[in-house]
């Protein structure tokens, strides 16, 4: 018995020039803030899509204040949010919990990849959940060309987990674009990070960012937005 959805995934992704998975292993390091802001920064020059794969804690729709729903036409057409083609599980779960188990996660990803019509894109940014589970495996299996941006904070609790993800990605021969150090205050672990890969840049701790969440322009004008934009230009 053959799963008829698998063959079509390649077709759906083939007009996407680059897939960038913003990941970490660790939660709460700013993956969602970085991926949404990076998508917005890139969208000034490029055709960009954003796929939120954090089914337990989808966040990018809040950061960008997404409104419209996908349209149905030979598949699902992602709505334009801040000029970015946007897809998230929230279009199917609304504000409810999505207590999916491992195999449900992989099935949901397959379904989403099979029915979403991204069409032509320069970048598809993927906001990854924490952990090294089915979502990372799905990237390994269905998006072999994906490039990883790995986000950490300077805290040892974050870095110890992030190192594990880096090791995993290297073991599995994934392309790693580099490592972003987010929420930097006085203390930075740049030197330590550089031993493990390319240092893509620091993003300062910005206590004011909370009040800009949901307002794309304000985010882009903030210190946070500027730091992310510099990183976006490097990739």
């Amino acid at each position: 018995m053959i799963d008829a959805r698998l063959e079509i995934i390649e077709e759906r992704l083939k007009r996407i020039k680059r897939i960038v998975a913003v990941s970490s292993g660790k939660g709460g390091v700013g993956k969602s803030m970085v991926s949404a802001t990076m998508a917005m920064a890139l969208s000034k020059k490029y055709k960009v899509g954003l796929l939120d794969l954090d089914f337990y804690g989808p966040s990018t729709h809040i950061i960008m204040n997404a409104g419209d729903k996908p349209a149905e036409k030979n598949g699902l057409i992602p709505p334009l949010v801040e000029n970015i083609k946007f897809m998230s599980i929230i279009y199917f779960t609304e504000d409810k919990a999505a207590p999916l188990k491992g195999k449900d996660i992989i099935n949901a990803i397959i379904e989403l990849l099979a029915i979403t019509i991204w069409d032509e894109l320069d970048f598809l940014i993927i906001d990854m959940p924490p952990g090294m589970g089915e979502e990372v495996m799905a990237i390994l299996k269905f998006m072999k060309e994906a490039e990883f941006i790995v986000v950490t904070t300077p805290s040892i609790l974050s870095w110890e987990t992030v190192k594990k993800l880096l090791l995993f990605l290297k073991n599995n021969r994934c392309k790693i674009l580099g490592i972003v150090e987010n929420m930097v205050m006085e203390h930075s672990i740049k030197n330590e990070i550089e031993k493990f890969g390319r240092y893509l840049g620091a993003i300062k701790f910005d206590a004011s960012i909370e009040k800009f969440i949901g307002n794309a322009n304000k985010i882009m004008e903030s210190d946070f937005g500027k730091d992310v934009e510099k990183i976006a230009m490097k990739i």
Partner: protein, 132 residues
Amino acid sequence: MHEWALAEGVIKTAVEKAKESKMKSIDEIDLKIGEMQDIELDIFKFALDELMKEYGMKAKINIRIQKTKFKCNVCNYEWHFDEFELTEDEKEFVHFLPESIFSHARCPKCGSQYFEIVEGRGVWIEAIRGKK
């Protein structure tokens, strides 16, 4: 209307598999579709026909709807899709993404959300027959 996307999956897969097994023409395809996908059969069949034209093929497609079966991990109760009480919106969500059922429904007996979709999701090719 996202039926088209799934139909594309079917035809692409059939063409690919026929190639792999060196079939010259595909005469018949047996499909099994999970009840949860809640496919609109008219649209789906139309899409299959259109796509077959594009690919220059003409096969008989036999479609079988697989009933759903759910099983609760807490109380072991087993049930079917029609035991859920879903709104029209929720049904549409499940039509697009079967796994969204875990957001919208609970075990009819004990109320737990920790249940399994035993069967009834996905679009499956059970057999492809043709000439070598």
